[in-house]
């Protein structure tokens, strides 16, 4: 894996994920752990958050506010699917409208790797004002500095 380089993960709508998989980023290994998530109408916010997981800085385990809400036997399965827990992912691409659903998780992610990139979707163009990274950086400067 070290010689192969890191992966690019994607969390998006059907067209976005299909497009980037066509581009060649997809991995579905023997353990059936993909580096992509297609968000559909019935995809829950919990599922998106579990996949993304900003609390996954702890090695191999995730601390939850209320662990009783989740099925314990699925913990190991969930840990392996969480993109932030995986050390083989370098960039996470996420549609911005989906990022808005899990904004708190994105804001909590402070590490440089994996880099999280908010990208537009078919129906939701990119809005720089909502981007976590840019908002964080803009807070350091005044309006004059950014002209």
């Amino acid at each position: 894996m070290a010689g192969r380089g890191k992966l690019i993960a994607v969390i998006g709508d059907e067209d976005t994920v299909t497009g980037f998989l066509l581009g060649g980023i997809g991995e579905l290994n023997k353990n059936r752990h993909p580096n992509f998530l297609v968000v559909e109408k019935d995809t829950t916010i919990n599922e998106i958050e579990d996949t993304f997981r900003s609390l996954g800085s702890l090695p191999g385990r995730v601390v939850e506010a209320n662990p009783n809400q989740r099925d314990p036997p699925l913990w190991d399965e969930i840990d392996s699917r969480q993109f932030l827990n995986r050390d083989d992912i370098g960039i996470i691409l996420i549609n911005q409208y989906i990022a808005e659903m899990v904004r708190h998780a994105l804001d909590a992610h402070q590490q440089s790797i994996p880099a999280v990139l908010e990208i537009p979707s078919k129906e939701h163009p990119y809005d720089a004002a909502k981007d976590s990274i840019l908002r964080r950086a803009r807070g350091m400067f005044t309006a004059e500095d950014l002209r």
Binding site: G5, K6, I8, D15, G19, G23, G26, G90, L117, P125
Partner: protein, 178 residues
């Protein structure tokens, strides 16, 4: 006598410019993936509504494209998209000049299993419309842009942390200066 800010004060000066670059670059994929979505829509129109989607994903996938992170100056990570399994062109033709063996057919060596991962276009059939290939090209271009943006974001984060450090040093200096 030098201050802790000497030399380090240049660090945050470039950040607003980088912010503008990142914002401009983040708009650029809008165009690439927009072209990609349009091409996907055309392919779907040609092949059928359910013919281009998750139902066609392979059960086993290997990435054709990987990310290489190289450490630039000051420990910054710079990303580059690399295509996996790129082979040199095969040599076609007789390997030995001259002699031909007459005793039975020469056993040609079996082709080695290709190390190159399967092209995702193959998930959608043998003959795919041109629009699907165009979609693939657009999204590949988008991936390179994504790597550039990630590198810029890393730089901004680094600049931010440097700025914070300098601001704290400044605060420590102020009571002393007073």
């Amino acid at each position: 006598m030098g201050t802790p800010l000497d030399g380090g004060s240049r660090v945050p000066i470039g950040c607003p410019a980088k912010l503008r670059r990142v914002t401009r670059k983040k708009v650029a994929p809008d165009l690439e993936v927009l072209t990609g979505w349009l091409s996907l829509a055309k392919a779907r129109y040609a092949m059928g509504a359910k013919s281009v989607g998750p139902l066609q994903y392979a059960s086993h996938m290997e990435p054709q494209v990987c990310l290489h992170a190289s450490e630039a100056q000051e420990g910054l990570q710079k990303f580059k998209v690399v295509r996996a399994g790129v082979h040199a062109p095969e040599e076609v033709g007789p390997r030995e000049a001259g002699l031909r063996r007459r005793k039975g057919p020469t056993k040609t060596p079996e082709p080695e299993s290709s190390e190159a991962p399967q092209d995702p276009l193959n998930w959608f059939g043998i003959l795919v419309p041109h629009s699907l290939r165009q979609a693939q090209a657009s999204f590949r271009d988008g991936l390179q842009l994504a790597a550039d943006i990630a590198s810029l974001q890393n730089r901004i984060d680094w600049g931010r942390s440097q700025l914070r450090g300098l601001q704290e040093k400044l605060k420590q200096l102020e009571p002393g200066a007073a």
